[in-house]
Symmetry: C2
Subunit: 321 residues, 2 copies
Protein backbone atom coordinates (compact mmCIF):
# COMPACT_ATOMS: atom_id res chain seq x y z
CA UNK A 1 0.00 0.00 0.00
CA UNK A 2 1.28 3.43 -0.89
CA UNK A 3 1.58 5.10 2.49
CA UNK A 4 -1.64 7.04 3.14
CA UNK A 5 0.15 10.32 3.81
CA UNK A 6 2.21 10.11 0.62
CA UNK A 7 -0.87 9.26 -1.39
CA UNK A 8 -2.74 12.26 -0.02
CA UNK A 9 0.20 14.57 -0.57
CA UNK A 10 0.80 13.46 -4.15
CA UNK A 11 -2.68 13.06 -5.52
CA UNK A 12 -5.14 14.94 -3.35
CA UNK A 13 -3.33 17.89 -1.76
CA UNK A 14 -3.25 19.67 -5.16
CA UNK A 15 -7.06 19.74 -5.14
CA UNK A 16 -7.25 21.42 -1.76
CA UNK A 17 -6.78 25.15 -2.29
CA UNK A 18 -9.11 26.94 0.13
CA UNK A 19 -9.58 30.57 1.10
CA UNK A 20 -6.75 32.01 3.18
CA UNK A 21 -8.68 32.21 6.44
CA UNK A 22 -9.75 28.58 6.06
CA UNK A 23 -7.91 25.30 6.70
CA UNK A 24 -7.93 22.39 4.28
CA UNK A 25 -6.21 19.01 4.21
CA UNK A 26 -3.56 18.27 6.85
CA UNK A 27 -5.19 18.75 10.23
CA UNK A 28 -7.74 16.60 12.07
CA UNK A 29 -10.45 18.47 10.20
CA UNK A 30 -11.07 21.34 7.81
CA UNK A 31 -12.21 24.76 8.99
CA UNK A 32 -14.44 26.82 6.71
CA UNK A 33 -15.96 30.27 7.00
CA UNK A 34 -19.70 30.70 6.45
CA UNK A 35 -20.85 33.56 4.20
CA UNK A 36 -23.38 35.66 6.08
CA UNK A 37 -27.03 35.20 5.15
CA UNK A 38 -26.35 31.77 3.70
CA UNK A 39 -27.36 28.31 4.77
CA UNK A 40 -25.12 25.28 4.38
CA UNK A 41 -26.32 22.43 2.15
CA UNK A 42 -24.76 19.00 2.70
CA UNK A 43 -25.13 16.01 0.38
CA UNK A 44 -23.52 12.55 0.42
CA UNK A 45 -23.34 9.90 -2.26
CA UNK A 46 -21.44 6.64 -2.28
CA UNK A 47 -20.37 4.73 -5.37
CA UNK A 48 -19.38 1.07 -5.05
CA UNK A 49 -17.62 -0.62 -7.97
CA UNK A 50 -19.79 -3.21 -9.66
CA UNK A 51 -22.90 -1.71 -8.06
CA UNK A 52 -22.94 1.91 -9.14
CA UNK A 53 -20.60 1.65 -12.09
CA UNK A 54 -19.35 -1.25 -14.22
CA UNK A 55 -16.13 -2.91 -13.08
CA UNK A 56 -14.19 -1.74 -16.13
CA UNK A 57 -15.08 1.93 -15.75
CA UNK A 58 -12.02 4.12 -16.29
CA UNK A 59 -10.55 5.58 -13.08
CA UNK A 60 -10.77 9.13 -14.46
CA UNK A 61 -14.48 8.61 -15.05
CA UNK A 62 -14.97 7.20 -11.54
CA UNK A 63 -13.26 10.29 -10.10
CA UNK A 64 -15.40 12.63 -12.18
CA UNK A 65 -18.66 10.85 -11.50
CA UNK A 66 -18.16 10.51 -7.73
CA UNK A 67 -18.14 14.29 -7.49
CA UNK A 68 -20.67 14.87 -10.29
CA UNK A 69 -23.48 12.94 -8.61
CA UNK A 70 -22.98 15.02 -5.48
CA UNK A 71 -22.89 18.33 -7.33
CA UNK A 72 -26.11 17.19 -9.00
CA UNK A 73 -27.71 16.86 -5.56
CA UNK A 74 -26.49 20.35 -4.64
CA UNK A 75 -27.93 21.66 -7.91
CA UNK A 76 -31.29 20.12 -7.06
CA UNK A 77 -31.26 22.13 -3.83
CA UNK A 78 -30.32 25.33 -5.69
CA UNK A 79 -27.00 25.48 -3.82
CA UNK A 80 -23.69 26.87 -5.09
CA UNK A 81 -21.05 24.14 -4.65
CA UNK A 82 -18.44 25.21 -2.09
CA UNK A 83 -16.15 22.32 -1.06
CA UNK A 84 -16.15 18.55 -0.66
CA UNK A 85 -14.56 15.71 1.27
CA UNK A 86 -13.59 12.32 -0.11
CA UNK A 87 -13.60 8.92 1.58
CA UNK A 88 -11.77 6.47 -0.65
CA UNK A 89 -11.63 2.76 0.16
CA UNK A 90 -9.06 1.29 -2.16
CA UNK A 91 -8.30 -2.32 -3.06
CA UNK A 92 -4.64 -3.28 -3.42
CA UNK A 93 -5.10 -3.77 -7.18
CA UNK A 94 -5.80 -0.06 -7.61
CA UNK A 95 -3.27 1.24 -5.13
CA UNK A 96 -0.66 2.29 -7.65
CA UNK A 97 0.45 5.53 -9.27
CA UNK A 98 -1.32 5.08 -12.61
CA UNK A 99 -4.73 4.37 -11.13
CA UNK A 100 -4.52 7.10 -8.51
CA UNK A 101 -3.24 9.63 -11.01
CA UNK A 102 -6.11 8.92 -13.40
CA UNK A 103 -8.73 8.89 -10.64
CA UNK A 104 -7.53 12.15 -9.12
CA UNK A 105 -7.26 13.85 -12.52
CA UNK A 106 -10.90 13.06 -13.39
CA UNK A 107 -11.93 14.32 -9.98
CA UNK A 108 -9.82 17.41 -10.37
CA UNK A 109 -11.17 18.18 -13.82
CA UNK A 110 -14.72 18.56 -12.52
CA UNK A 111 -13.68 20.13 -9.21
CA UNK A 112 -11.78 22.87 -11.01
CA UNK A 113 -14.62 23.49 -13.44
CA UNK A 114 -16.86 24.25 -10.46
CA UNK A 115 -14.09 25.72 -8.28
CA UNK A 116 -14.76 23.38 -5.39
CA UNK A 117 -11.71 22.48 -3.29
CA UNK A 118 -11.21 19.10 -1.66
CA UNK A 119 -11.02 19.87 2.05
CA UNK A 120 -10.25 16.48 3.54
CA UNK A 121 -11.39 12.92 3.89
CA UNK A 122 -10.05 9.50 4.58
CA UNK A 123 -8.17 6.88 2.59
CA UNK A 124 -8.53 3.27 3.66
CA UNK A 125 -7.83 -0.21 2.40
CA UNK A 126 -10.65 -2.44 1.29
CA UNK A 127 -11.17 -5.23 -1.21
CA UNK A 128 -13.86 -3.32 -3.04
CA UNK A 129 -13.45 0.18 -4.40
CA UNK A 130 -15.88 2.44 -2.55
CA UNK A 131 -15.95 6.19 -3.07
CA UNK A 132 -18.00 8.43 -0.80
CA UNK A 133 -18.11 12.14 -1.46
CA UNK A 134 -19.74 14.60 0.90
CA UNK A 135 -20.25 17.89 -0.91
CA UNK A 136 -21.17 21.21 0.64
CA UNK A 137 -22.80 24.24 -0.87
CA UNK A 138 -24.30 27.57 0.09
CA UNK A 139 -27.78 28.86 -0.54
CA UNK A 140 -29.46 32.09 0.56
CA UNK A 141 -31.17 31.46 3.88
CA UNK A 142 -34.63 29.99 3.42
CA UNK A 143 -34.23 29.71 -0.36
CA UNK A 144 -33.14 26.08 -0.81
CA UNK A 145 -35.16 24.20 -3.42
CA UNK A 146 -37.00 21.26 -1.96
CA UNK A 147 -39.00 18.29 -3.17
CA UNK A 148 -42.04 19.33 -1.23
CA UNK A 149 -43.18 22.62 -2.81
CA UNK A 150 -45.07 21.47 -5.92
CA UNK A 151 -48.68 22.71 -6.12
CA UNK A 152 -51.58 21.86 -8.47
CA UNK A 153 -51.30 23.86 -11.68
CA UNK A 154 -47.49 24.06 -11.62
CA UNK A 155 -45.73 23.04 -14.81
CA UNK A 156 -43.47 19.96 -14.62
CA UNK A 157 -40.12 20.40 -16.37
CA UNK A 158 -36.99 18.45 -17.04
CA UNK A 159 -33.57 19.58 -18.26
CA UNK A 160 -31.52 18.03 -21.06
CA UNK A 161 -32.24 14.57 -22.43
CA UNK A 162 -33.58 11.66 -20.44
CA UNK A 163 -32.43 8.06 -20.67
CA UNK A 164 -28.93 8.35 -22.10
CA UNK A 165 -27.33 7.12 -18.88
CA UNK A 166 -29.49 3.99 -19.01
CA UNK A 167 -28.73 3.56 -22.70
CA UNK A 168 -25.01 3.86 -21.98
CA UNK A 169 -25.22 1.28 -19.21
CA UNK A 170 -27.07 -1.10 -21.51
CA UNK A 171 -24.39 -0.61 -24.15
CA UNK A 172 -21.71 -1.56 -21.57
CA UNK A 173 -23.62 -4.52 -20.17
CA UNK A 174 -24.47 -5.92 -23.60
CA UNK A 175 -21.05 -5.03 -25.03
CA UNK A 176 -22.60 -3.04 -27.89
CA UNK A 177 -20.43 -1.00 -30.26
CA UNK A 178 -19.00 1.80 -28.11
CA UNK A 179 -18.67 4.13 -31.10
CA UNK A 180 -22.38 3.98 -31.84
CA UNK A 181 -23.21 4.83 -28.22
CA UNK A 182 -20.48 7.40 -27.56
CA UNK A 183 -22.90 10.12 -26.45
CA UNK A 184 -24.77 7.80 -24.09
CA UNK A 185 -21.49 6.48 -22.64
CA UNK A 186 -20.31 10.04 -22.09
CA UNK A 187 -23.55 10.73 -20.22
CA UNK A 188 -23.13 7.55 -18.14
CA UNK A 189 -19.49 8.17 -17.24
CA UNK A 190 -19.17 11.94 -17.23
CA UNK A 191 -22.53 13.42 -16.29
CA UNK A 192 -22.60 17.23 -16.22
CA UNK A 193 -24.27 18.32 -12.99
CA UNK A 194 -26.82 21.07 -13.68
CA UNK A 195 -25.34 23.51 -11.21
CA UNK A 196 -26.03 26.70 -13.19
CA UNK A 197 -29.64 25.69 -13.77
CA UNK A 198 -30.11 24.86 -10.08
CA UNK A 199 -28.89 28.32 -9.15
CA UNK A 200 -31.28 29.99 -11.62
CA UNK A 201 -34.24 28.03 -10.24
CA UNK A 202 -33.91 29.55 -6.76
CA UNK A 203 -36.96 31.77 -6.21
CA UNK A 204 -38.52 30.39 -9.39
CA UNK A 205 -39.12 26.63 -9.04
CA UNK A 206 -41.62 25.45 -6.45
CA UNK A 207 -39.85 22.08 -6.13
CA UNK A 208 -36.90 20.25 -7.62
CA UNK A 209 -35.14 16.90 -7.57
CA UNK A 210 -32.25 15.49 -9.52
CA UNK A 211 -33.03 12.57 -11.80
CA UNK A 212 -30.82 9.77 -10.52
CA UNK A 213 -33.16 6.86 -9.74
CA UNK A 214 -35.03 7.18 -13.06
CA UNK A 215 -37.37 9.94 -14.22
CA UNK A 216 -40.64 8.37 -13.11
CA UNK A 217 -39.23 7.21 -9.78
CA UNK A 218 -37.91 10.69 -9.07
CA UNK A 219 -41.22 12.27 -10.09
CA UNK A 220 -42.83 9.87 -7.63
CA UNK A 221 -40.48 11.08 -4.86
CA UNK A 222 -41.35 14.67 -5.69
CA UNK A 223 -45.10 14.03 -5.68
CA UNK A 224 -44.89 12.09 -2.44
CA UNK A 225 -43.00 14.93 -0.75
CA UNK A 226 -45.39 17.53 -2.19
CA UNK A 227 -48.51 15.44 -1.54
CA UNK A 228 -50.01 16.03 -4.95
CA UNK A 229 -50.40 14.28 -8.28
CA UNK A 230 -49.44 15.00 -11.87
CA UNK A 231 -50.04 14.24 -15.49
CA UNK A 232 -46.90 13.29 -17.41
CA UNK A 233 -47.03 13.42 -21.20
CA UNK A 234 -44.73 10.55 -22.04
CA UNK A 235 -44.47 11.72 -25.65
CA UNK A 236 -43.05 15.07 -24.46
CA UNK A 237 -40.07 13.58 -22.58
CA UNK A 238 -36.98 14.78 -24.45
CA UNK A 239 -34.72 12.10 -25.94
CA UNK A 240 -31.35 12.40 -27.62
CA UNK A 241 -30.92 11.34 -31.23
CA UNK A 242 -29.30 8.11 -30.03
CA UNK A 243 -32.21 7.33 -27.74
CA UNK A 244 -34.70 8.09 -30.47
CA UNK A 245 -32.90 5.78 -32.89
CA UNK A 246 -32.75 3.05 -30.29
CA UNK A 247 -36.46 3.30 -29.52
CA UNK A 248 -37.32 3.36 -33.24
CA UNK A 249 -35.76 -0.10 -33.51
CA UNK A 250 -36.81 -1.36 -30.06
CA UNK A 251 -40.34 -0.10 -29.51
CA UNK A 252 -40.86 -2.59 -26.66
CA UNK A 253 -38.11 -0.78 -24.70
CA UNK A 254 -40.18 2.43 -24.47
CA UNK A 255 -39.99 2.48 -20.65
CA UNK A 256 -36.16 2.20 -20.51
CA UNK A 257 -35.47 5.96 -20.52
CA UNK A 258 -38.35 6.63 -18.12
CA UNK A 259 -37.27 4.11 -15.52
CA UNK A 260 -33.47 3.86 -16.06
CA UNK A 261 -31.28 5.89 -13.72
CA UNK A 262 -28.11 7.94 -14.05
CA UNK A 263 -29.60 10.95 -15.85
CA UNK A 264 -28.41 13.66 -13.46
CA UNK A 265 -30.79 16.11 -15.04
CA UNK A 266 -33.06 18.28 -12.91
CA UNK A 267 -36.79 17.68 -12.73
CA UNK A 268 -38.70 20.62 -11.26
CA UNK A 269 -42.00 22.40 -11.03
CA UNK A 270 -42.73 26.05 -11.75
CA UNK A 271 -45.90 27.95 -10.84
CA UNK A 272 -47.85 29.04 -13.94
CA UNK A 273 -47.21 32.74 -13.32
CA UNK A 274 -43.47 32.19 -13.37
CA UNK A 275 -43.20 30.04 -16.49
CA UNK A 276 -42.42 32.99 -18.73
CA UNK A 277 -39.64 34.01 -16.36
CA UNK A 278 -38.26 30.46 -16.48
CA UNK A 279 -37.92 30.70 -20.26
CA UNK A 280 -36.23 34.06 -19.99
CA UNK A 281 -33.78 33.05 -17.27
CA UNK A 282 -32.73 29.79 -18.87
CA UNK A 283 -32.48 31.00 -22.47
CA UNK A 284 -28.71 31.41 -22.35
CA UNK A 285 -27.92 28.19 -20.51
CA UNK A 286 -27.21 26.09 -23.62
CA UNK A 287 -29.40 23.41 -22.06
CA UNK A 288 -32.86 22.40 -23.22
CA UNK A 289 -35.67 22.84 -20.70
CA UNK A 290 -38.78 20.85 -21.57
CA UNK A 291 -42.26 20.89 -20.11
CA UNK A 292 -43.37 17.29 -19.68
CA UNK A 293 -46.53 17.61 -17.61
CA UNK A 294 -48.47 19.44 -14.98
CA UNK A 295 -49.11 19.02 -11.27
CA UNK A 296 -52.65 18.03 -10.29
CA UNK A 297 -54.63 17.88 -7.08
CA UNK A 298 -54.66 14.07 -7.22
CA UNK A 299 -52.30 11.65 -5.51
CA UNK A 300 -50.86 9.69 -8.41
CA UNK A 301 -49.15 10.19 -11.74
CA UNK A 302 -51.26 9.77 -14.84
CA UNK A 303 -49.23 8.86 -17.92
CA UNK A 304 -50.50 10.38 -21.17
CA UNK A 305 -49.52 9.01 -24.58
CA UNK A 306 -48.03 5.85 -23.07
CA UNK A 307 -48.60 2.49 -24.79
CA UNK A 308 -52.06 1.03 -24.37
CA UNK A 309 -52.84 -0.32 -20.90
CA UNK A 310 -50.26 1.85 -19.11
CA UNK A 311 -51.92 4.81 -17.45
CA UNK A 312 -50.28 5.03 -14.04
CA UNK A 313 -46.96 4.34 -12.32
CA UNK A 314 -48.45 1.21 -10.74
CA UNK A 315 -48.73 -0.25 -14.22
CA UNK A 316 -44.96 0.03 -14.46
CA UNK A 317 -44.45 -1.81 -11.21
CA UNK A 318 -43.95 1.13 -8.86
CA UNK A 319 -44.75 0.14 -5.30
CA UNK A 320 -44.05 3.27 -3.39
CA UNK A 321 -46.76 5.50 -4.63
CA UNK B 1 -32.29 -6.14 0.42
CA UNK B 2 -34.52 -4.12 2.66
CA UNK B 3 -35.63 -1.28 0.42
CA UNK B 4 -33.33 1.69 0.99
CA UNK B 5 -36.17 4.09 1.75
CA UNK B 6 -37.75 1.74 4.30
CA UNK B 7 -34.39 1.17 5.92
CA UNK B 8 -33.77 4.90 6.26
CA UNK B 9 -37.27 5.57 7.56
CA UNK B 10 -37.15 2.80 10.16
CA UNK B 11 -33.63 3.01 11.47
CA UNK B 12 -32.15 6.39 10.63
CA UNK B 13 -34.97 8.93 10.43
CA UNK B 14 -35.37 8.78 14.25
CA UNK B 15 -31.83 10.15 14.59
CA UNK B 16 -32.51 13.16 12.40
CA UNK B 17 -34.16 15.81 14.56
CA UNK B 18 -32.79 19.17 13.43
CA UNK B 19 -33.68 22.77 14.30
CA UNK B 20 -36.98 23.94 12.85
CA UNK B 21 -35.52 26.26 10.22
CA UNK B 22 -33.26 23.46 8.98
CA UNK B 23 -33.92 20.45 6.77
CA UNK B 24 -32.72 16.96 7.57
CA UNK B 25 -33.16 13.56 5.91
CA UNK B 26 -35.62 13.27 3.03
CA UNK B 27 -34.55 15.75 0.39
CA UNK B 28 -31.59 15.70 -2.00
CA UNK B 29 -29.53 17.31 0.73
CA UNK B 30 -29.72 18.76 4.20
CA UNK B 31 -29.92 22.51 4.85
CA UNK B 32 -28.33 23.91 7.99
CA UNK B 33 -28.10 27.38 9.45
CA UNK B 34 -24.70 28.75 10.46
CA UNK B 35 -24.41 30.46 13.85
CA UNK B 36 -22.91 33.92 13.40
CA UNK B 37 -19.25 34.36 14.30
CA UNK B 38 -18.60 30.64 13.95
CA UNK B 39 -16.58 28.61 11.49
CA UNK B 40 -17.59 25.21 10.26
CA UNK B 41 -15.33 22.25 11.03
CA UNK B 42 -15.66 19.16 8.82
CA UNK B 43 -14.10 15.75 9.54
CA UNK B 44 -14.45 12.39 7.78
CA UNK B 45 -13.49 8.91 8.91
CA UNK B 46 -14.16 5.59 7.26
CA UNK B 47 -14.25 2.24 9.04
CA UNK B 48 -13.96 -0.95 6.99
CA UNK B 49 -14.77 -4.28 8.64
CA UNK B 50 -11.73 -6.45 9.13
CA UNK B 51 -9.46 -3.42 8.65
CA UNK B 52 -10.57 -0.93 11.30
CA UNK B 53 -12.43 -3.30 13.56
CA UNK B 54 -12.41 -7.10 14.01
CA UNK B 55 -14.98 -9.03 11.96
CA UNK B 56 -16.92 -10.14 15.03
CA UNK B 57 -17.38 -6.63 16.47
CA UNK B 58 -20.94 -6.12 17.68
CA UNK B 59 -23.08 -3.96 15.39
CA UNK B 60 -23.97 -1.58 18.24
CA UNK B 61 -20.26 -1.05 18.86
CA UNK B 62 -19.62 -0.41 15.14
CA UNK B 63 -22.40 2.20 15.14
CA UNK B 64 -21.02 3.89 18.24
CA UNK B 65 -17.41 3.85 17.11
CA UNK B 66 -18.08 5.14 13.57
CA UNK B 67 -19.40 8.35 15.10
CA UNK B 68 -17.00 8.40 18.06
CA UNK B 69 -13.85 8.53 15.93
CA UNK B 70 -15.29 11.53 14.08
CA UNK B 71 -16.34 13.35 17.24
CA UNK B 72 -12.80 12.74 18.46
CA UNK B 73 -11.47 14.59 15.41
CA UNK B 74 -13.88 17.47 16.08
CA UNK B 75 -12.71 17.53 19.72
CA UNK B 76 -9.10 17.79 18.54
CA UNK B 77 -10.09 20.93 16.62
CA UNK B 78 -11.91 22.38 19.63
CA UNK B 79 -15.23 22.23 17.77
CA UNK B 80 -18.69 21.68 19.23
CA UNK B 81 -20.27 18.73 17.36
CA UNK B 82 -23.30 19.90 15.38
CA UNK B 83 -24.54 17.23 12.94
CA UNK B 84 -23.29 14.32 10.83
CA UNK B 85 -23.99 12.33 7.71
CA UNK B 86 -23.63 8.59 7.29
CA UNK B 87 -22.61 6.57 4.22
CA UNK B 88 -23.31 2.92 4.92
CA UNK B 89 -22.24 0.19 2.49
CA UNK B 90 -23.95 -2.94 3.65
CA UNK B 91 -23.36 -6.59 2.72
CA UNK B 92 -26.43 -8.78 2.27
CA UNK B 93 -25.50 -10.76 5.42
CA UNK B 94 -26.08 -7.68 7.56
CA UNK B 95 -29.10 -6.33 5.75
CA UNK B 96 -31.68 -7.48 8.26
CA UNK B 97 -33.70 -5.96 11.06
CA UNK B 98 -31.61 -7.27 13.95
CA UNK B 99 -28.29 -6.01 12.61
CA UNK B 100 -29.64 -2.63 11.54
CA UNK B 101 -31.47 -2.14 14.79
CA UNK B 102 -28.36 -2.86 16.83
CA UNK B 103 -26.12 -0.72 14.60
CA UNK B 104 -28.47 2.26 14.64
CA UNK B 105 -29.01 1.98 18.40
CA UNK B 106 -25.26 2.16 19.10
CA UNK B 107 -25.01 5.14 16.78
CA UNK B 108 -28.01 6.77 18.38
CA UNK B 109 -26.71 6.25 21.87
CA UNK B 110 -23.63 8.37 21.22
CA UNK B 111 -25.42 10.84 18.91
CA UNK B 112 -27.97 11.62 21.60
CA UNK B 113 -25.32 11.96 24.29
CA UNK B 114 -23.74 14.72 22.20
CA UNK B 115 -27.01 16.01 20.70
CA UNK B 116 -25.84 15.63 17.13
CA UNK B 117 -28.56 14.83 14.61
CA UNK B 118 -28.03 12.63 11.57
CA UNK B 119 -28.79 14.90 8.62
CA UNK B 120 -28.49 12.54 5.67
CA UNK B 121 -26.23 10.17 3.83
CA UNK B 122 -26.39 7.22 1.54
CA UNK B 123 -27.09 3.52 1.93
CA UNK B 124 -25.61 1.18 -0.64
CA UNK B 125 -25.00 -2.50 -1.20
CA UNK B 126 -21.50 -3.89 -0.99
CA UNK B 127 -19.85 -7.15 -0.01
CA UNK B 128 -17.81 -5.51 2.71
CA UNK B 129 -19.26 -3.41 5.49
CA UNK B 130 -17.91 0.12 5.10
CA UNK B 131 -19.07 2.98 7.29
CA UNK B 132 -18.10 6.57 6.49
CA UNK B 133 -19.21 9.35 8.79
CA UNK B 134 -18.71 13.01 7.96
CA UNK B 135 -19.21 15.05 11.11
CA UNK B 136 -19.60 18.80 11.35
CA UNK B 137 -18.99 21.14 14.22
CA UNK B 138 -18.79 24.83 15.02
CA UNK B 139 -15.92 26.77 16.49
CA UNK B 140 -15.55 30.50 17.15
CA UNK B 141 -14.01 32.10 14.07
CA UNK B 142 -10.21 31.84 14.10
CA UNK B 143 -10.19 29.74 17.29
CA UNK B 144 -9.92 26.19 15.91
CA UNK B 145 -7.20 24.13 17.53
CA UNK B 146 -4.56 23.03 15.06
CA UNK B 147 -1.60 20.71 14.94
CA UNK B 148 0.76 23.48 13.97
CA UNK B 149 0.83 25.83 16.97
CA UNK B 150 3.23 24.10 19.39
CA UNK B 151 6.20 26.22 20.46
CA UNK B 152 9.40 25.43 22.41
CA UNK B 153 8.71 25.49 26.14
CA UNK B 154 5.07 24.41 25.84
CA UNK B 155 4.03 21.51 28.04
CA UNK B 156 2.95 18.31 26.25
CA UNK B 157 -0.19 16.73 27.70
CA UNK B 158 -2.40 13.76 27.13
CA UNK B 159 -5.89 12.97 28.41
CA UNK B 160 -7.04 9.71 29.99
CA UNK B 161 -5.07 6.49 29.68
CA UNK B 162 -2.99 5.46 26.71
CA UNK B 163 -2.82 2.01 25.15
CA UNK B 164 -6.08 0.39 26.25
CA UNK B 165 -7.42 0.33 22.68
CA UNK B 166 -4.32 -1.57 21.56
CA UNK B 167 -4.59 -3.88 24.57
CA UNK B 168 -8.22 -4.58 23.73
CA UNK B 169 -7.38 -5.34 20.11
CA UNK B 170 -4.65 -7.72 21.21
CA UNK B 171 -7.12 -9.45 23.55
CA UNK B 172 -9.51 -9.94 20.60
CA UNK B 173 -6.84 -11.08 18.17
CA UNK B 174 -5.29 -13.52 20.63
CA UNK B 175 -8.68 -14.60 22.00
CA UNK B 176 -7.67 -13.76 25.58
CA UNK B 177 -10.18 -13.91 28.41
CA UNK B 178 -12.65 -11.10 27.68
CA UNK B 179 -13.50 -10.68 31.35
CA UNK B 180 -9.92 -9.90 32.27
CA UNK B 181 -9.73 -7.24 29.53
CA UNK B 182 -13.21 -5.75 29.90
CA UNK B 183 -11.96 -2.18 30.36
CA UNK B 184 -9.62 -2.40 27.40
CA UNK B 185 -12.36 -3.91 25.22
CA UNK B 186 -14.71 -1.14 26.25
CA UNK B 187 -12.07 1.39 25.21
CA UNK B 188 -11.55 -0.40 21.87
CA UNK B 189 -15.23 -0.70 21.03
CA UNK B 190 -16.82 2.29 22.71
CA UNK B 191 -14.26 5.08 22.87
CA UNK B 192 -15.50 8.26 24.53
CA UNK B 193 -14.59 11.22 22.34
CA UNK B 194 -13.08 14.02 24.44
CA UNK B 195 -15.49 16.66 23.25
CA UNK B 196 -15.77 18.59 26.52
CA UNK B 197 -12.00 18.72 26.89
CA UNK B 198 -11.59 19.91 23.28
CA UNK B 199 -13.97 22.77 23.96
CA UNK B 200 -12.11 23.79 27.11
CA UNK B 201 -8.79 23.83 25.26
CA UNK B 202 -9.90 26.57 22.85
CA UNK B 203 -7.84 29.66 23.65
CA UNK B 204 -5.65 27.60 25.98
CA UNK B 205 -3.84 24.90 24.00
CA UNK B 206 -1.30 25.96 21.38
CA UNK B 207 -1.85 22.74 19.38
CA UNK B 208 -3.87 19.56 19.60
CA UNK B 209 -4.37 16.21 17.86
CA UNK B 210 -6.44 13.19 18.69
CA UNK B 211 -4.52 10.02 19.43
CA UNK B 212 -5.74 7.54 16.84
CA UNK B 213 -2.63 6.30 15.01
CA UNK B 214 -0.72 5.68 18.26
CA UNK B 215 0.63 8.20 20.76
CA UNK B 216 4.15 8.51 19.35
CA UNK B 217 2.95 8.63 15.74
CA UNK B 218 0.47 11.37 16.60
CA UNK B 219 3.09 13.31 18.52
CA UNK B 220 5.24 13.02 15.38
CA UNK B 221 2.38 14.51 13.28
CA UNK B 222 2.04 17.35 15.73
CA UNK B 223 5.78 18.10 15.77
CA UNK B 224 5.97 17.93 11.99
CA UNK B 225 3.11 20.41 11.62
CA UNK B 226 4.57 22.69 14.30
CA UNK B 227 8.15 22.31 13.06
CA UNK B 228 9.63 21.73 16.47
CA UNK B 229 10.87 18.91 18.66
CA UNK B 230 9.99 17.52 22.08
CA UNK B 231 11.11 15.44 24.98
CA UNK B 232 8.67 12.71 25.98
CA UNK B 233 9.05 11.12 29.39
CA UNK B 234 7.95 7.59 28.62
CA UNK B 235 7.59 6.82 32.32
CA UNK B 236 5.03 9.62 32.67
CA UNK B 237 2.60 8.26 30.06
CA UNK B 238 -0.55 7.33 32.00
CA UNK B 239 -1.62 3.69 31.88
CA UNK B 240 -4.74 2.01 33.19
CA UNK B 241 -4.49 -0.65 35.89
CA UNK B 242 -5.02 -3.31 33.18
CA UNK B 243 -2.21 -1.92 31.06
CA UNK B 244 0.10 -1.69 34.07
CA UNK B 245 -0.61 -5.32 34.97
CA UNK B 246 -0.03 -6.41 31.39
CA UNK B 247 3.30 -4.60 31.18
CA UNK B 248 4.37 -5.96 34.57
CA UNK B 249 4.12 -9.46 33.08
CA UNK B 250 5.26 -8.55 29.56
CA UNK B 251 8.08 -6.07 29.97
CA UNK B 252 9.19 -6.62 26.36
CA UNK B 253 5.85 -5.16 25.21
CA UNK B 254 6.67 -1.73 26.64
CA UNK B 255 6.16 -0.01 23.26
CA UNK B 256 2.67 -1.46 22.67
CA UNK B 257 0.74 1.37 24.34
CA UNK B 258 3.00 4.01 22.79
CA UNK B 259 2.63 2.76 19.22
CA UNK B 260 -0.78 1.04 19.25
CA UNK B 261 -3.72 3.02 17.89
CA UNK B 262 -7.36 3.49 18.86
CA UNK B 263 -6.84 5.63 21.95
CA UNK B 264 -9.08 8.57 21.00
CA UNK B 265 -7.55 10.66 23.72
CA UNK B 266 -6.36 14.19 23.04
CA UNK B 267 -2.67 15.05 22.94
CA UNK B 268 -2.01 18.77 23.16
CA UNK B 269 0.47 21.47 24.07
CA UNK B 270 -0.04 24.38 26.46
CA UNK B 271 2.22 27.43 26.80
CA UNK B 272 3.93 27.55 30.21
CA UNK B 273 2.01 30.66 31.30
CA UNK B 274 -1.32 28.91 30.77
CA UNK B 275 -0.57 25.63 32.51
CA UNK B 276 -2.13 26.74 35.79
CA UNK B 277 -5.27 27.74 33.90
CA UNK B 278 -5.34 24.30 32.26
CA UNK B 279 -5.42 22.65 35.67
CA UNK B 280 -8.17 24.95 36.84
CA UNK B 281 -10.36 24.55 33.75
CA UNK B 282 -10.10 20.79 33.56
CA UNK B 283 -10.46 20.05 37.26
CA UNK B 284 -14.15 19.15 37.03
CA UNK B 285 -13.95 17.08 33.83
CA UNK B 286 -13.62 13.71 35.56
CA UNK B 287 -10.77 12.97 33.15
CA UNK B 288 -7.11 12.77 34.03
CA UNK B 289 -4.82 15.23 32.26
CA UNK B 290 -1.17 14.25 32.39
CA UNK B 291 1.96 16.15 31.44
CA UNK B 292 4.20 13.76 29.50
CA UNK B 293 6.86 16.04 28.10
CA UNK B 294 7.84 19.42 26.77
CA UNK B 295 8.27 20.98 23.36
CA UNK B 296 11.85 21.82 22.36
CA UNK B 297 13.50 23.84 19.63
CA UNK B 298 14.84 20.67 18.00
CA UNK B 299 13.34 18.66 15.20
CA UNK B 300 12.88 15.23 16.72
CA UNK B 301 11.38 13.55 19.75
CA UNK B 302 13.73 12.48 22.49
CA UNK B 303 12.40 9.63 24.61
CA UNK B 304 13.31 9.82 28.28
CA UNK B 305 13.16 6.80 30.58
CA UNK B 306 12.72 4.40 27.67
CA UNK B 307 14.54 1.04 27.70
CA UNK B 308 18.24 1.21 27.00
CA UNK B 309 19.12 1.97 23.37
CA UNK B 310 15.86 3.68 22.55
CA UNK B 311 16.24 7.42 22.57
CA UNK B 312 14.36 8.60 19.52
CA UNK B 313 11.35 7.70 17.37
CA UNK B 314 13.69 6.35 14.69
CA UNK B 315 14.73 3.65 17.12
CA UNK B 316 11.12 2.50 17.11
CA UNK B 317 10.98 2.32 13.34
CA UNK B 318 9.35 5.66 12.59
CA UNK B 319 10.15 6.77 9.05
CA UNK B 320 8.24 10.01 8.73
CA UNK B 321 10.13 12.19 11.07
Amino acid sequence: MTHEFDLIRTFFQPLSQVATQDIGIGDDGAVLSCPSGQQLVVVTDTMVEGVHFPLDTLPEDIGWKALAVNLSDLAAMGARPAFFSLALSLPESKNHQAWLKAFSSGLRHLAEAHRVPLIGGDTTRSDRLTVTVTAHGWVSAGQALRRSGARPGDGLYVSGYIGDGALGLMAVNEALDAGAYAGALQKLNRPEPRVALGGLLVGLASSAIDVSDGLLADIAHLLEASQCGCEVDVSAVPYSQAMQSYLAENAQAWALPLTGGDDYELCFTVPAEKEALLKERTRHLNLSITEIGRITAGTGAVLKNAPKGVQTLEHLGFQHF
